[in-house]
């Protein structure tokens, strides 16, 4: 397995799902973006999160990742209550996200985008100044891993390119690779195929399926239902901030409420 090393999860996580969202709500003034949302994300497979525009999917993902503060409710990850954790602490626990709008580091090369995702001893002033041999060795291993990942994602020819000079689809790939470098326990994907050409979309899908088969659990917001059908065994449907249903895509297609709210 290259680049992906899902960390072992606690038994509590296995029993209740790796991620548990409990009665989550978030309002913006009078607008209720997320209302009493509860769901579990299992420790394997890709869980889909679908719904019409404005359903509250990205807000929910933002709350899970710690970018948005919930008005009420709790988030439990790997058996630990992380409701009050800042986003960087959640990432340190293995809850890593990608963004709907590309979140690349523009003036870092593709390689640097990848290596910065891995914490090493040289990230403090004293470490960088005094422990050069230690961080050089660590960095060597990280770079070797990044180069393997770039090979796997057919991006080796972009190693030295500034991320700002990539196409929209390539930026998505960089974001996914960067997420993988951070050794996630759960990868949160916010519309990973939005604005990507069909050919690259296919590639991203293939990579996601490979990662799933390698044992990396993911929670993915996606509008392209055929992709959700192929990738996600478990799908949560949201509309107007509420959870409408949970199940397989086949279940949802048979569900009148889901059909009228989203699939029609």
């Amino acid at each position: 397995m290259i680049g992906v090393s899902p960390q072992p999860t606690a038994t509590v996580g296995e029993k209740h799902g790796l991620l548990r969202v409990d009665s989550l709500s978030r309002s913006y003034g009078g607008v209720k973006a997320v209302v009493d949302l509860s769901f579990d994300v299992p420790a394997s497979g890709i869980t889909g999160l679908i719904g019409p525009n404005g359903a509250g999917k990205s807000t929910a993902l933002g709350i899970v990742a710690g970018d948005i503060r919930q008005s009420s409710g709790r988030v439990t990850f790997d058996g630990r209550d992380i409701s009050d954790y800042a986003s960087h602490r959640r990432a340190q626990l293995g809850l890593v996200r990608t963004f709907q709008m590309s979140g690349e580091f523009g003036k870092l090369t593709v390689l640097e985008n990848l290596i910065t995702a891995v914490p090493t001893v040289g990230e403090s002033v004293s470490g960088a100044l005094l422990r050069r041999p230690a961080w050089r060795t660590a960095l060597d291993a990280v770079i070797a891993r990044a180069l393997e990942l770039l090979d796997r994602f057919d991006m080796a020819n972009k190693t030295d390119t500034w991320a700002s000079d990539l196409s929209g689809g390539q930026k998505r790939l960089v974001e996914i690779m960067r997420g993988l470098m951070a050794s996630p326990k759960l990868l949160l994907l916010d519309e990973p195929m939005a604005g990507v050409n069909p050919e690259l979309r296919k590639r991203i899908e293939t990579h996601l399926l490979e990662l799933r088969d390698d044992g990396l659990p993911m929670l993915m917001i996606e509008h392209e239902l055929s992709v959700v059908e192929r990738c996600c065994g478990h799908v949560i449907v949201m509309a107007r901030g509420l959870k409408l249903a949970e199940g397989t895509m086949a279940d949802h297609r048979a569900n009148e409420a889901v059909r009228s709210a989203y699939l029609a």
Binding site: A65, D67, A86, S87, H88, R89, A91, Q92, V96, R97, F99, G103, E104, F105, G106, K107, L108, T109, L111, E112, N113, I115, T116, A117, P119, T120, V121, G122, E123, S124, V125, G127, A128, L129, R132, W135, R136, T137, A138, L139, D140, A141, I143, A144, L147, E148, T159, D160, T161, W162, E175, R178, G179, A182
Partner: protein
């Protein structure tokens, strides 16, 4: 070359070194970590005052001449180290307050206000550093011990300042290419993504504030021990803009660009008006300095925002090492069908 001109040249070399050390500090804060520290000059001043009060000795020596705190006579290089430490410490304290809660544009405003307040404080608290009149007769390091003539000492000081600059340049390059340097640039480019990858953005920026502050303090000490006087008018907030202009002209994020920018702006451009014949009302020629700084900043931002030496991608070769080669060898061998190493 007459002695006066030689002295002028030595002074220019020292000024170059002082501006270069300060600009490298600001470059770490602004070009690397994206912190718009419009109070940068305050930390240089803090270093200068620290070095001064740690070398002047007690203020009772010449009764009523000047009053200041501490008043030690510490040997070289302790005042220099203390100045850097005070710069770093003060920067960190300010950083904790300014960087944690405020957005980047508000941070810049907070820093600008801080700069103005700091000048007012030092001017009005006369007991601190002798108020508006400032400190004078600040000793230069090892001047008596070396026993050099006035002119030779100037050149010795210039060489010492250049050696310090080279050291600082090396340390900055070292830091820039370390994982910390990559983290600085990552938080600069996209702080939300950096946080999503587990980076404590405030702490990463704070480390840049501390390093930049240390260099600011160091530059202040080098300057004050050369010119031997220091007063609130030496560090008014527009001085920070001279450093920003140097970075913009030289090229943001390029270490050689920082040196080129310093050579171009505070040395060549700002020294230019002093060769002009005096005209108009008194002080007009001096105030042309600020007009030039403003114009040059605008011209570069408009026509060449990347500066004379633009930031370049740090290619894989920059990170290559023997260790990495060894790690990559099996892969390369596999790719060309050779035996694994």
């Amino acid at each position: 070359m007459n002695a006066g001109f030689q002295l002028y040249l030595a002074t220019l070399v020292v000024y170059f070194a002082v501006y270069a050390i300060a600009a490298m500090g600001l470059s770490i804060q602004y070009s690397y970590a994206g912190v718009v520290n419009l109070a940068f000059i305050v930390f240089q001043a803090a270093g200068a005052y620290t070095a001064a009060v740690l070398t002047l000795g007690p203020d009772t020596r010449i009764a009523g001449f000047q009053t200041y705190i501490l008043g030690y006579e510490l040997p070289f290089p302790i005042p220099l180290i203390a100045a850097a430490a005070v710069g770093a410490l003060l920067s960190s304290v300010v950083g904790v307050i300014a960087l944690k809660k405020l957005r980047r544009d508000y941070q810049a405003m907070a820093f600008l206000v801080l700069s103005v307040i700091a000048t007012d404080l030092v001017t009005n608290l006369k007991g601190l550093f002798n108020g508006q009149a400032g400190l004078a007769l600040i000793p230069s390091p090892l001047q008596n011990e070396l026993g050099l003539s006035y002119g030779d000492y100037h050149w010795a000081y210039a060489i010492y300042a250049v050696v310090l600059t080279a050291l600082v340049y090396g340390v900055c390059r070292w830091l820039g290419n370390s994982p910390l340097g990559v983290s600085w640039r990552a938080t600069r480019d996209n702080e939300t993504s950096a946080a999503a990858l587990g980076k404590n953005v405030a702490r990463v920026r704070l480390s840049a504030m501390a390093v930049g502050g240390a260099l600011a303090g160091l530059s202040g000490a080098v300057l004050v021990q050369f010119i031997t006087v220091w007063e609130p008018n030496s560090w008014l907030f527009p001085e920070t803009f001279v450093l920003f202009t140097s970075l913009i002209v030289g090229g943001l994020g390029n270490s050689k660009g920082v040196l080129l920018g310093v050579l171009a702006v505070p040395i060549l451009l700002l020294q230019g008006p002093s060769f002009l014949p005096e005209f108009g009302r008194t002080g007009l020629v001096d105030s042309l300095e600020w007009v030039i700084v403003g114009l040059v900043t605008l011209v570069f931002l408009w026509f060449r925002p990347k500066g004379l030496l633009p930031e370049r991608p740090r290619r894989l070769d920059k990170y290559r090492s023997k260790g990495l080669q060894a790690l990559l060898r099996p892969r390369l061998n596999r790719d060309v069908g050779g035996p694994p190493a």
